[in-house]
Each structure stands twice: as C-alpha cells, then as structure tokens.
C-alpha cells in the first residue's frame, strides 16, 4: 500500500485522531494524537491490509534551537517527538508514525512529557522506549519497566535534550 492509501485508511478509521501527515517527504510520515497511539498502532499491526508486524525503530527527538541567533529562523515550535518506523514483513511496505509532545508536561520544567507505551504491541518497543526515556526524557505510561537502560540509574538529565548540560561531577569524577 502506498503511504497516501495508508493515511486515507487511518483517517477513515480514526478521524481527527490523525493530526497531520507529510506524504511528500522522503520517508512519508503520519502524525497521531498521543492519546490514540496505542489504538492506531494496534490497528496498524492487525488490519489485514496493513499488517505492520515489525517496528524497525522507535526513537525520540528534541526540537529546540538553543542558539538565540538561529532561533528566529527555526521552522518548528519547541517540542519533542516520538518517531515509530514500521515495516510489514508480509506486505513489504513502510510507514513512519510520529507523536508530538510538549517538551515538558504542563510547562513545568523537569516534568517529563507522557505518551502511552506500545511495548504491548511490539516487544522491541520495551527496550527502545527505555532508551528514549533515558536519552530524550519521555515517559511511556503503561510500560512494564520504565527505567534507564544505557546510563546509570542515578544519572541526572537526558543527554539528547538540546538544552542538556553535562554534569560537572558524578560520584567524585570530574566532568570537565
């Protein structure tokens, strides 16, 4: 199925839960409302015409321009994204699904944004969501084991945030 067909089918099924799409991108993507991500992903996996049985990659991305000179030209509003790269072994087609979240929940700096976990749909999401939590700072609600995976458990901050500051000291080890 072409990305446009997939988009059409999703809009017909979920209506305004599909909040956007960029179908002329190199890898076309569809944007989904955070609350509906589990329903949409279950549908994408189970529908006989879609059958996205594999999640190739799940990652977070932080959209923020920290340089004040470039901030005016920056094409995005500050936000974080969760990007799901799906593939179907049966039908051999690809689609990218995105979820846009605020950088901080309720604009409270330090409160991580939340999105429902898809670890129940694809087992690969278990570790990848932990990685996204660890490095980008996104809380996946309903995840069976939401802990850091690459950094130590007492690490502070999330390294792939654009405004991340490298710690000056960690357990007596100097950082700079």
């Amino acid at each position: 199925m072409s990305p446009a067909d997939i988009h059409q089918q999703l809009v017909a099924q979920f209506g305004d839960k599909i909040t956007g799409a960029k179908l002329d991108a190199i890898d076309p993507w569809i944007e989904v409302a955070p609350a509906a991500i589990v329903d949409v992903c279950t549908y994408l996996r189970d529908d006989p015409k879609l059958k996205f049985d594999a999640l190739n990659d799940l990652c977070g991305a932080d959209y923020l321009e920290t340089d004040p000179k470039k901030a005016a030209k920056f094409p995005h509003q500050p936000h974080v994204e969760v990007v799901y790269h799906l593939y179907s072994y049966f039908l051999k087609h690809y689609i990218v699904v995105k979820v846009k979240l605020p950088r901080w929940q309720n604009d409270q700096v330090g409160e991580l944004p939340e999105v429902p976990s898809v670890a129940g749909i694809w087992l690969i999401a278990d570790w990848h969501e932990r990685e996204a939590y660890d490095l980008v700072g996104i809380q996946f609600t309903g995840h069976p084991n939401m802990r850091r995976i690459l950094c130590p458990e007492d690490w502070e901050g999330h390294a792939l945030r654009k405004d991340y500051e490298f710690p000056l000291e960690y357990h007596g080890i100097r950082g700079k």
Partner: protein, 412 residues
C-alpha cells in the same frame, strides 16, 4: 527453625536450595565485551536473566549531532568494530538518500566487494569466538588466521585494520591500489614468495580460492561435531513470531525461519548495489541440520552465518569480475560543509549482525539536527531474557554467543 545438633541427621537432611543472585560479567570472557547478566538461579537452573548494558555508552548520537556527517563516519566504525566497513556504508547511504546523491557504478561495485569482505571477516570472528564460548580453541585460531589476511588486504586498501572510515559519502575515500605485496599470511599458507607483487584483486582472488575449501573443514570442526551439536541444537529456541516482535534481524531472524535479507528486500538505494548479482539467502530450516536441531535454535543461527560466508564469496567473485570491467571514478566529491536539506530519512542496511539503521533529520545546516543509530544487536540481545529462562547456567554462553553481539554497537 532452630536446629538441634544432637541428632546429626537433622543437619544432614536439611539441604535446601535457595534462590541465588549471580552476576555474570561485566568482565566475563564469554559475554563478548562488557555485558553484565544478572542471573536469578536455583542451583544450575535459571529462573530469570536481566541483561545490564551501557558500560560502553558514549552517546554517539549526541556526538553525531555536533559534527557534520562525514565527520561522524569514524564514530560509526567504533559501533560495530568487527564490521566497520558495513557501518560506514550504512551512514553513507543514509546521507546519500537525504541529499539525493548518485554514486558512480565503479564505487558501488567496490563498496559491495569491501562490504562483503568485511562480512566474511566478521562472521569468521563470530564463528571462532562461538567455538571459544563452547570450549574449543582451534576454530578460533583458524578464524583469526583467515581474518588476518582480510585485515592485511584492508590495510593495503585504506591504511587501517579495524576502524577504516574507507566508505564515505559519495563513494570511497580512494581506489584500491594497483599493486601490493602479497599478504604475509597468504604467502605462508600458499607457499609463495613473501615479496611477490600482486594486484589487490589478484590477492583477493587468491585468498578466496584458498578460503572456499576451508569452510568444509570448519563444518567438520564445529557444525558436525557431536559435542557442538549437543551444546547448540534444541537450545535457545526463538520462534518466528517472537523474532519479528522483538525486532531481531540478520542471522538471528533468518535462523528463526524468516526469509528476509535487505540486500534483496531492502530499499532501492541499497539493493541497486546488488542488482545483477546472483546470491541466495540462507534461511533455516536446513536439510543438513542434525536431527536434534529445532527451527530457531543456536545451531540454526550459527549455520546461517556459515552459509552466508559461502554466499559472500560468491558475491565477491562476481564483484571482482564486474569491477575489472567497470570504468569511471570511485568517488564523487562531497564537501564537508554541505548543507543538509530540511527533510528526514531512515535507512537500514544489512550488516553482518543484522539491520543497522540510521535516522537523520536535516535542518538546512551542515550538521544533522537529529542523528540516530538504530542498533541491530540491541534488539538481538533483548531476547536473552526470554531464551535463557529455564535453561542451565552453562547454556548461557551458548545462547548469548549464538546471538553474536558486539557491545560497541549496543551501547553506542
């Protein structure tokens, strides 16, 4: 319970087995690097395995966001350090997909030769180290003898033996040399004058002629060895559905019976390198499997790798033929400061250990706004908890070894 020691039988029969927490690693030799497995065992039987990773974490993605893409290539070498060429290729193709760059035909053929040669080297280490995990030393020595020749050839081609940065955006940094001294290992093995001059491709052909019959020897040493079969067949069974759901790729996926290889089924920008080449994708179950072997067990995963070496040799022979007929250059210039368009790409390539993906977000600047490396071993390792449940402690090296992981790629 308080023990009264008057009756010695009370002590004698009060033998209980307690659950025990055992740390395997991070410095355990059979964990292939700094992987720590936390085992909850009852005697020899495993109840639960929790892998702890991150000992080599250096946030390569953050580094990538602070460098231009050609500057990031040396860092990809250090991800899967046993297959640096394939890592370079993955990133180069992703950038080429993002900026819509065409690579000359000669460069594509040379890339194929280099990538497949590195695949052989990587699978040789996988085979040798797996033998080592299971307690046999000689296959390791044979594997490293062969790999040494490949590394010598790479050294002649690009100057480096482990971290190559040879394949780059737009092609390869330079063409292969016209004349080299025969690799010393190859000269010794084939009883030739060590000062003999050969062409690079001539040396490669000589090596392939020498390697091909040796694969049968490895089968006698390992694949058909009764002890090896006892240790691998029927252990660590990964079903087809679980393999897909866990995102396993490469030999692990094909060992579970999924016929999928990106060299054939991948995206156009990658598969066109392999257009016109004849090769098969080895997929379990195999006719030659011992009766004890089950679809998706350690033995199948190992055998897929062995068969892939044969296919890589086949591809290399066709590649050598095609390269000698190709004309043109091996590189289109790419400026270090080329601005990346406002767009994003994700591209996976078939690396020896599975599908390595690169996700790049361009922002109109020379540095990618988001640079992500999706690791294949990361997904392959995540099945250990499931595979090791209920097996014996001694089976853990056999299971983890059959996944053939490289920690540099997992921790990034």
């Amino acid at each position: 319970m308080s023990l009264t020691l008057e009756d010695p039988r009370v002590v004698e029969f009060d033998v209980r087995t307690d659950e025990m927490l055992v740390n395997m690693g991070p410095q355990h030799p059979s964990t292939h690097g700094v992987l720590r497995l936390l085992l909850r065992t009852d005697g020899e039987v495993i109840y639960e395995v929790t892998p702890h990773i991150g000992y080599l974490h250096r946030c390569a993605e953050k580094i990538g966001e602070n460098l231009t893409t050609p500057q990031w290539i040396p860092y990809t070498d250090r991800m899967d350090y046993l297959a640096g060429m394939n890592m370079n290729l993955g990133l180069s193709l992703a950038v080429e997909k993002l900026i819509g760059m065409e690579v000359p035909e000669k460069a594509m053929v040379l890339r194929l030769i280099i990538a497949e040669l590195n695949r052989i080297a990587s699978h040789l280490v996988g085979m040798g180290a797996y033998g080592l995990d299971l307690g046999t030393f000689s296959p390791f020595l044979y594997a490293f003898r062969e790999r040494e020749i490949i590394l010598d050839l790479f050294e002649e081609a690009c100057g480096a033996r482990l971290t190559y940065s040879y394949i780059t955006i737009g092609g390869l940094t330079h063409d292969i040399p016209a004349e080299i001294t025969i690799p010393s290992g190859l000269a010794a093995l084939t009883h030739q004058n060590p000062n003999k001059k050969v062409s690079w491709l001539g040396g490669l052909t000589m090596f392939l002629d020498w390697l091909e019959p040796r694969i049968l020897e490895y089968h006698t040493l390992l694949t058909e060895n009764a002890i090896f079969i006892k240790r691998t067949a029927g252990i660590g069974v990964l079903s087809r559905e679980k393999a897909i759901s866990y995102g396993c790729t490469g030999p692990v996926l094909r060992g579970s019976g999924v016929d999928h290889d990106l060299r054939r089924d991948g995206e156009k920008i990658y598969t066109r390198m392999y257009e016109g080449f004849q090769f098969d994708v080895p997929v379990a179950p195999f006719k030659k499997a011992p009766p004890e072997a089950v679809l998706g067990d350690n033995w199948c995963r190992f055998y897929v790798r062995m068969m892939e070496v044969v296919q890589s040799i086949r591809l290399l022979r066709q590649g050598i033929d095609k390269y000698t007929k190709a004309s043109g250059t091996t590189r289109v210039p790419y400026k270090m400061t080329t601005k990346l368009p406002v767009n994003e790409v994700y591209l996976e390539t078939e690396c020896p250990r599975g599908q390595m993906g690169f996700y790049l977000v361009g922002n109109g600047e020379d540095k990618p706004f988001r640079a992500r490396a999706k690791s294949s071993c990361f997904c392959n390792l995540s099945v250990t908890a499931e595979l090791c449940q209920g097996c014996l402690i001694a089976d853990i090296p056999a299971i983890v070894g059959s996944l053939d992981i490289v920690m540099g790629e997992i921790d990034r």
